[in-house]
């Protein structure tokens, strides 16, 4: 074993591992360097440095009873556990813990799909279930519900939602934590708790009314460390009858402001799915003169950008819209979108895209029939899990920074300028420039992306990435933009930016942690929440 849990000697740790083996079986406890290799963060920018967080062992229980047994053993010896679901949180730490020496509690064997109801439209699953598994289960049974999945389908609905991950369909469903309904959790003392209607014995509505009665603590388990989630419910979208797409372009830079307002209206009225924004001017970034303009310190003027767009014969912005419903309702919503936008923004143009009944054919899923170049990920848009998007991964992976910014054109312009200037000292391609479009993954906010690659054999490069990440977290926070999710090595930095009233939120969470888990048995440091034992 390469490392030990905090404050534990080797002989005592050997006893802990023996007790783990007694609880789950000898085949499901690992502590050799070789076996722990896959528990490292393969996308880590601090690979092979002192900053890398390494596990001391991993243990894989098969059921809730075994999870409780492991937690109780860990509590007796004050060994921190780091729960993972399918362990695919790449870009945000993968399966690696916050505290070196933690034992990874690998929940992959809790892989039962307990229920999918396509009349009341929900699922109840365990953490080891992947999006691939859930999709396959639904398809094999011909159930009339659609899942909402993130880019890589190997992740876990539970793990992804607890990280507040996102998908690509209708607003309610693509906020994966928001679409959850009911949690079962093993608390740090080993006790089992259910939230919402799950707390009422005999209730048949656990996945239909998330609140139950009184405070709802379910949110404490998302990006938190107050227990080990062993079951979770999710609302599912009924399989729509029809899917329709369309493209709208607007000519001038400032037109983005009105375009966003119209799309916000459509989206918040549940008339469209994920709006996919883009700038056709990105095609010009290979031109050195245009690149210099788009990345100009302080940002270019509207007039400069409009002149460049006019000279190139390109619109400044576009949005691809997606509609789910019947053939008639999707057509009506698309017609309304065109009417609202084309009547308000001079020079705006609309282009009909593909539309077809659902479920889609394989050819339709391949997404090669649009009459225009599309940025929509068709499988994700239709709830079909895939790993096709792994094609964007460069070098040895990447880390991700996704600031939450207001859903307005003005905020986009400000973020382009501020974040672009903040990264100017670093030798990366331009992530933020005057053509950078917002992401509308989370339904009621915009995000942008900084995701530099990492290189295991290039520590100087990784150190640059690390410095850039820490700088951009700080600069964004100065402007009111916070990161939504972070790898363990950045969680303290990000949590520190949510500092209203002298860090009242963090102090409150620390009080809870001290009351529930003072020894830090469950993921100390996760979400920037440290129990008394580990606070410096």
């Amino acid at each position: 074993m390469a490392v030990l849990p905090p404050d534990l000697d080797q002989a005592t740790f050997a006893r802990v591992l023996d007790e783990f083996r007694g609880a789950v079986g000898a085949d499901w406890v690992w502590s050799s360097d070789e076996d722990l290799g896959p528990y490292r963060d393969s996308f880590s920018p601090v690979w092979n440095t002192d900053e890398e967080r390494r596990a001391s062992a991993a243990v894989a229980p098969a059921d809730v009873g075994q999870v409780q047994a492991i937690v109780r053993i860990a509590a007796r010896y004050k060994v921190p556990l780091y729960p993972i679901s399918t362990g695919k949180n790449f870009g945000y730490g993968g399966p690696s813990p916050n505290v070196t020496g933690s034992v990874v509690l690998d929940l992959k064997r809790l892989n039962r799909i307990l229920e999918v109801d396509d009349k009341r439209n929900f699922a109840l699953v365990e953490p080891g279930v992947s999006y691939f598994d859930l999709y396959r289960y639904i398809q094999e049974r011909g159930l009339k519900v659609m899942i909402d999945c993130p880019d890589p389908g190997w992740g876990s609905p539970i793990g992804n939602s607890l990280e507040r991950g996102v998908g690509y369909t209708m607003p309610f469903f693509r906020d994966h934590y928001g679409a959850s309904c009911g949690v079962e959790v093993v608390l740090p003392n080993g006790e089992l708790m259910r939230t919402g209607m799950g707390a009422l014995p005999g209730a048949k509505t656990w996945q239909e009314y998330r609140y139950g009665f009184g405070p709802d603590p379910a949110g404490l388990f998302a990006q938190g460390n107050f227990g080990v989630v062993t079951k979770m419910g999710f609302r599912l979208m009924p399989l729509p009858k029809h899917y329709r797409t369309g493209l709208i372009t607007v000519p001038k830079r400032r037109d983005l402001v009105r375009l966003v307002e119209h799309v916000n209206f459509l989206s918040d009225s549940s008339m469209c799915g994920e709006p996919v924004y883009g700038s056709p001017l990105q095609a010009l970034l290979g031109n050195p003169d245009f690149y210099a303009l788009a990345t100009k310190p302080g940002g270019p003027s509207d007039a400069e950008m409009d002149a460049a767009a006019s000279a190139a014969g390109l619109p400044s912005w576009q949005v691809e819209l997606q509609f789910y419903g019947s053939e008639e309702t999707t057509k009506a919503n698309w017609e309304l979108a065109k009417e609202l936008i084309l009547s308000d923004i001079p020079g705006a143009q609309a282009f009909d895209g593909e539309h077809f009944p659902l479920p889609a054919t394989e050819e339709q899923l391949d997404n090669t029939g649009q009459p225009y170049r599309t940025a929509i990920k068709r499988r994700a848009a239709l709830g079909v899990p895939s790993l096709g998007m792994w094609r964007i991964v460069r070098d040895d992976g990447h880390v991700g920074f996704f600031p939450v910014i207001p859903r307005s054109g003005e905020a986009v312009f400000e973020a382009q300028r501020v974040l672009g200037d903040a990264l100017r000292e670093f030798p990366f391609r331009s992530y933020f420039n005057a053509t950078t479009a917002p992401l509308n993954w989370h339904p009621f906010t915009f995000q942008m992306v900084f995701a530099p690659s990492v290189k295991k054999n290039d520590p100087a490069h990784n150190e640059t990435v690390n410095r850039a990440m820490r700088k951009i977290v700080a600069v964004a926070a100065e402007h009111g933009w916070g990161d939504y999710r972070a790898a363990p090595i950045y969680q303290d930095d990000v949590a520190a930016t949510y500092s209203f009233n002298n860090h009242a939120l963090r102090r409150f969470l620390e009080q809870l942690k001290d009351a529930i888990d003072p020894d830090g048995i469950i993921a100390p440091g996760r979400g920037g929440i440290w129990p008394k034992r580990f606070r410096k």
Partner: protein, 143 residues
């Protein structure tokens, strides 16, 4: 698990990590139609097939990638690495024994992360290797 990683790993680490076996690969993989990026679908009935399809195929299968991409990510990475000297799709490769697979599954490479024993046991990897051998043989015999 990503097919991309496996492909890239084999390309960059193979010579050092598996010198003998890769030297053999080079001499035995006189691949016909190496420019063919659309290999025949594999119909082999083998106990390793489901394991491959669930764990490897989403990146390493033949056939198109998403949204107009000509290949899936792992297949594309291997095809780019080998430049026609070996197939990109693992089901057409007859040169990946269980030890080679195990190395890349457990260590990852490039964009492909490592896979834990709780996801894929050593016995699972053995079955996948046997399936790949059978599928490659079946495909070549059909050409």
């Amino acid at each position: 698990m990503t097919r991309t990683g496996i492909a890239a790993c084999i390309a960059t680490l193979g010579a050092a990590a598996f010198g003998t076996s890769f030297a053999q690969d080079a001499s035995t993989s006189s691949v016909p139609d190496v420019a063919d990026t659309k290999p025949l679908p594999v119909e082999v009935d083998h106990p390793g097939r489901e394991l491959f399809e669930r764990n490897c195929a989403p990146c390493h299968a033949p056939g198109p990638g998403d949204d107009g991409a000509p290949m899936l990510p792992g297949t594309a990475a291997l095809a780019a690495k080998y430049q026609g000297q070996r197939y990109g799709a693992l089901e057409l490769r007859g040169d990946l024994d269980a030890n080679v697979l195990r190395y890349f599954v457990r260590n990852g490479i490039g964009a492909m992360p490592m896979f834990r024993k709780v996801e894929l046991s050593d016995a699972d990897i053995d079955l996948i290797a046997a399936y790949l051998e059978a599928s490659a043989e079946a495909n070549l015999s059909r050409r």
